[in-house]
């Protein structure tokens, strides 16, 4: 409808130049040679493991898993079609949207991975550093560039960090994996408080680009809210300050125990003050280096993200209101899945993958194809992946919403549950992941089955239910308003339930959930969730959200009602 050149020249996203293209092509060739040497028995298992991890390849429970980087969750329709093709030709017809805005394939053949990487390189994609103890794919707000509450578009800085961190000579062999998230909006939709480094980018009153550094947040075995160690740093120093933080971590982070190797443990050991002092001391010595960003470089990268010339579209408010009235299901979808856009007449749309019976985040090749087509037909050829494992179409004219909704319903992507209990964040768990203590997908399904009445879900209001199959917390259970963690009890799968966590979006402060009692068996989970919800409904003040009730009354009333006692 707007622009649909298959190569998306109008899509506001980073495009490779000859430097990037050469780098990625070299990397694919290099990895192909390493794979061949491994298959020929010339490279040891351990050495190849570290090398394949830096190229996105895990060996999972049933087969290898390839994690493709979707830099800061942004895809063009052409790229998404390539992912559909990979799902079809190299996998079993589907892919999985991860909580780090990436796409995972669960069934590739190890020997075919170099071919997949080559297909990705053709559309300016890669799988570099999506696993291993290195700087991972940088994540950000899925509404970057279109959100009404944004002060500075974070994507250019994500891209600058992507380039800087790619095959970094000094920081590719860290004590542990390293995750950076960036936000540029008033509301933090990137969970910057629970990342190894969280960055807030903005402009000051004089128009200067600044960045705040939060370090040492994280989930996993020891969930921690990060500490702000630097505010108002001029953007030119983004990389020099990152270098200082990374050097302190690389040198002093623990390497003797992988559970104590994340930066949060170092920050805690040194105290935030002590850590900041070390970083500042280091920074003083690198702050004038050649890594200081030039205005030309910042503006060069920003140039790729200039918003499209949104054609002015007729105001569709009245039509939209009529359509909503005539069709309550559509009305519900608009209320939950359609987000405010900074350009009048447009909206950002979340296409939910959270359909009962489908593992959260799983999408078929056909769905990918359809989403790519909609991005071209209704938008500017751009798609985002959110950390809640959904697709986002960032620029849809309001007048096209009804048609898009109908198409989405036909393809199983029209669920109206964004922000509600059934928009479950869920890691692959015991069905796929070799580290799991318990399955997570069947738990999500049982919950979606039990709570399928939209009137009830609406009455409950905003609830984030997050499930992880083990302490690694890929399903972000600590920051779920309801969190479920798979644990192993004498060889059996049990689930520990917590409440009151939050990732820091919707204008709330981030918090780590509190466990409400002994773990329960899989069959019991939906009942326990039901009792938690009943408790909330019984005890909430008028208009109070689940999170607010938890914060006001604490866990005791929940414990009492769920376990029949307070402990």
């Amino acid at each position: 409808m707007l622009r649909c050149d298959p190569r998306n020249p109008g899509t506001p996203m980073y495009r490779y130049d000859s430097f990037d293209r050469q780098f990625i092509a070299e990397r694919v060739r290099h990895y192909r040679a390493q794979t061949e040497r491994y298959l020929a028995g010339e490279l040891s298992e351990d050495e190849f493991r570290h090398l394949r991890l830096r190229n996105g390849l895990y060996v999972q429970r049933l087969a290898p898993m390839l994690r493709v980087a979707v830099p800061y969750g942004t895809l063009s329709s052409t790229q998404l079609r390539t992912l559909a093709h990979i799902a079809r030709d190299y996998d079993r017809g589907y892919g999985h949207l991860s909580t780090r805005q990436n796409m995972q394939f669960n069934w590739p053949e190890l020997a075919e991975v170099p071919d997949i990487l080559e297909a990705l390189a053709e559309v300016e994609m890669h799988a570099i550093q999506t696993s291993g103890n290195c700087i991972r794919n940088v994540t950000t707000d899925e509404f970057s560039g279109v959100a009404a509450d944004e002060t500075l578009d974070p994507r250019p800085y994500c891209e600058i960090i992507r380039q800087w961190s790619t095959s970094h000579p000094e920081f590719d062999w860290l004590p542990r994996k390293f995750k950076i998230a960036v936000t540029g909006a008033a509301e933090d939709r990137a969970a910057i408080d629970v990342h190894d480094i969280g960055l807030r980018v903005y402009r000051d009153a004089a128009g200067e680009r600044l960045v705040d550094f939060i370090v040492g947040g994280g989930l996993g075995r020891t969930p921690v809210i990060g500490e702000t160690i630097r505010t108002g740093l001029p953007m030119a120093h983004l990389l020099t300050y990152l270098e200082a933080v990374m050097r302190v971590y690389n040198r002093y982070g623990r390497r003797d125990n992988k559970y104590k190797a994340r930066i949060k443990i170092l920050v805690r050991a040194l105290t935030a003050e002590g850590f900041r002092a070390k970083v500042d001391e280091e920074w003083a010595l690198v702050r004038d280096s050649a890594s200081v960003l030039t205005v030309a470089e910042i503006e060069r990268v920003e140039g790729y993200f200039v918003p499209p010339a949104w054609p002015s579209v007729p105001d569709a408010t009245a039509t939209l209101a009529e359509q909503r009235l005539a069709n309550p299901a559509f009305g519900r979808w608009v209320a939950n899945n359609v987000m405010a856009h900074r350009q009048p007449g447009y909206a950002a749309v979340v296409l939910s993958t959270k359909v009962t019976g489908i593992p959260p985040g799983d999408v078929s090749d056909r769905q990918m194809q359809a989403v790519a087509d909609w991005a071209d037909r209704y938008g500017f050829g751009e798609i985002r992946i959110s950390h809640q494992q959904n697709f986002v179409l960032p620029d849809v004219p309001q007048a096209a919403l009804f048609e898009l909704w109908q198409a989405a319903c036909r393809e199983g992507l029209g669920e109206s549950n964004v922000g509600l209990l059934t928009n479950i964040i869920c890691c692959p768990g015991g069905d796929y992941c070799s580290l799991a203590n318990a399955k997570s997908i069947p738990v999500a399904e049982a919950i979606q089955q039990r709570f399928d009445d939209y009137d009830y879900l609406h009455d409950l209001g905003p609830i984030d239910l997050n499930i992880s199959g083990c302490m690694n917390a890929c399903g972000h259970h600590h920051v779920g308003t309801i969190g479920i963690l798979g644990v192993d009890k004498k060889g059996e799968e049990f689930y520990q339930i917590s409440i009151g966590g939050h990732a820091g979006h919707a204008g709330q402060t981030a918090s780590i959930g509190a466990i409400i009692g002994p773990s329960v068996s899989r069959d019991e989970v939906p009942d326990v969730i039901g009792r938690i919800l009943d408790t909330y409904v019984a005890l909430r003040a008028p208009g109070e959200t689940f999170l607010a009730t938890c914060r006001r009354i604490g866990t005791e009333p929940f414990k009492e009602r769920i376990y029949g006692r307070a402990d």
């Binding site: 490779y16 070299e26 380039q163 000579p169 990389l239 050097r247 280096s289 030309a296």
Partner: protein
């Protein structure tokens, strides 16, 4: 005896190193007092000292190839302490990781016991250019080469 490889600082090519240098004794920091006929042997977590800059040779030990502390130590010795002598990587040194070591300022590499190397193998130099600044390329790509622009 493990193979010793060196890099030509100018051309960046790798070649077998001369055996004489390999024989220089290596001393711990406490035992080294500025002797010109002995090198220093540092673990990856050593704190660099200004006096180290005078050493003819510093060998940094990698207990495991995936332990990156020695990389930061090398960068500090080169960029902060102005060490210009020979910087050698010893321990669990593997061919596929030489490019990291080279960029962090190492110039000789004692390969892990039993590891062989084909110096003509292209994998030793996976990329012609990198994005970031490093000891070998003190300027990042955005200062070094003309990068693309948005259409």
């Amino acid at each position: 005896m493990a193979a010793l490889i060196e890099i030509d600082r100018v051309s960046g090519t790798l070649r077998g190193a001369d055996a004489g240098r390999a024989g220089l004794p290596l001393l711990a920091p406490e035992a080294w007092h500025g002797q010109a006929d002995a090198g220093l042997r540092l673990p990856g977590d050593a704190e660099p000292e200004a006096r180290f800059a005078e050493a003819p040779l510093i060998a940094i030990e990698f207990p495991a190839f995936h332990d990156g502390r020695g990389l930061s130590l090398a960068v500090l010795l080169r960029t902060r302490f102005g060490f210009t002598g020979e910087l050698r990587a010893i321990g669990d040194v593997r061919p596929d990781l030489l490019h990291y070591l080279v960029r962090c300022g190492f110039d000789t590499f004692e390969l892990a016991e039993g590891v062989s190397i084909d110096l003509a193998d292209p994998r030793l130099v996976p990329h012609l250019q990198y994005y970031q600044a490093s000891v070998r390329d003190p300027e990042p790509a955005f200062r070094r080469v003309a990068r693309g622009r948005a259409a």
